[in-house]
């Protein structure tokens, strides 16, 4: 059990909330330390896992379709699977 690891885990959870200014507090129930024998803090994932579990907030240029841009991103990153968060209405 590692309390430093737990501290980093909670710090990461707080940063997830900060991402969208979510100020709702987490309350403790059966709080305890987390083991360092398995699992990884998301920001500490080795690069290929980090990418595989990652998300990009991409400012898509007008012109290419979302589908095309996803294909480019997959090629650039060397990943086989990627998706996008929805297209805009036609005529946008």
């Amino acid at each position: 059990m590692s309390s430093e690891l737990t501290r980093r885990g909670l710090s990461f959870l707080n940063s997830v909330n900060e991402f969208c200014n979510n100020k709702v507090k987490l309350k403790e129930k059966y709080m305890e330390d987390t083991s360092d024998s398995y699992g990884t803090i998301p920001t500490e994932r080795p690069l290929s896992k980090y990418i595989a579990n990652g998300v990009i907030n991409l400012d898509k240029p007008p012109g290419p379709t979302s589908h095309e841009v996803v294909a480019w991103v997959k090629r650039m990153l060397g990943v086989k699977k990627a998706g996008h968060g929805g297209t805009l209405e036609p005529g946008a």
């Binding site: 737990t6 990461f12 997830v16 309350k27 398995y38 699992g39 990884t40 998300v55 990009i56 400012d59």
Partner: protein, 242 residues
């Protein structure tokens, strides 16, 4: 899944209207509105209700109106502009559209261009440094930012990954906005997203209970085997177990 969208659009009016008329009509479209998706759309063209949270007229130049609109997902800005034009009496259509928010994703945090992505990859390949890439790519967990959250004790994780319902003894932490019936994001104590679930208790209930089912998993994201299987009967319970 993303609860709120925001757009900035340019509406082209087909006639002249006063600033007051424009503001008055804009405020009429705030709240629930009827919409039928346009002919060119990917969805069934059923009449449906969508909520428009706000419409802000940012700038007006001749017959061009720059507006910022916040709404439910699936609200067509093109139809909104068209209908506003009808109510204004002169007609209007949408000329330009930019989505500026999708759930937790806004222009303010972490927005990157393809160029920045390309540079980050270049830095990795040429200099061996992944620092820029880890800025451009965010951990997928941020997608769950807006949701109520449950943090699972280590012993509950693998059971839930296998579809077991999460019981009170398996809960390390819970967010104050936990509400029965709503979607909840379940995390490990390290901050890894286990998956999404449906909350079966409110925060207040979790606080005062020592047993009972807190959530049922609906969409597991974490692979099997990351966390070890705990003994049956501890932390998480499956449906029908003692």
């Amino acid at each position: 899944m993303h609860s709120r969208k925001a757009y900035v659009c340019v509406m082209q009016l087909h006639g002249d209207v006063s600033a007051d008329e424009l503001k008055a009509v804009a405020s009429e479209f705030i709240g629930p509105i009827y919409q039928r998706p346009p002919v060119r759309s990917n969805v069934r063209r059923a009449l449906r209700i969508r909520n428009v949270n706000s419409i802000e007229v940012l700038e007006v130049r001749d017959r061009l109106v720059l507006m910022k609109v916040e709404s439910d997902p699936g609200t067509y800005m093109r139809k909104l502009c068209w209908d506003m034009g009808l109510v204004l009496g002169v007609g209007a259509h949408m000329r330009e559209l930019r989505r500026v928010r999708s759930g937790p994703f806004t222009e303010e945090k972490g927005l990157v261009t393809l160029h920045q992505l390309s540079e980050a990859i270049y830095r990795l390949h040429e200099e061996g440094k992944d620092d820029l890439l880890r800025e451009v790519i965010l951990p997928g967990e941020v997608s769950a930012c807006e949701l109520p959250k449950l943090v699972l004790r280590d012993t509950a994780v693998e059971s839930v990954v296998n579809g077991a319902y999460l019981a009170v003894p398996g809960v390390a932490m819970f967010s104050e906005d936990l509400k029965r019936g709503s979607t909840v994001a379940m995390f490990t104590l390290k901050g890894e997203l286990v998956g999404l679930g449906e909350a079966l208790m409110d925060a207040a209930e979790v606080e005062k209970s020592e047993r009972g089912i807190v959530a049922r998993p609906t969409r597991i994201v974490m692979p099997h085997g990351v966390y070890p299987r705990a003994w049956k009967g501890s932390a998480a319970e499956g449906p029908g177990s003692s």
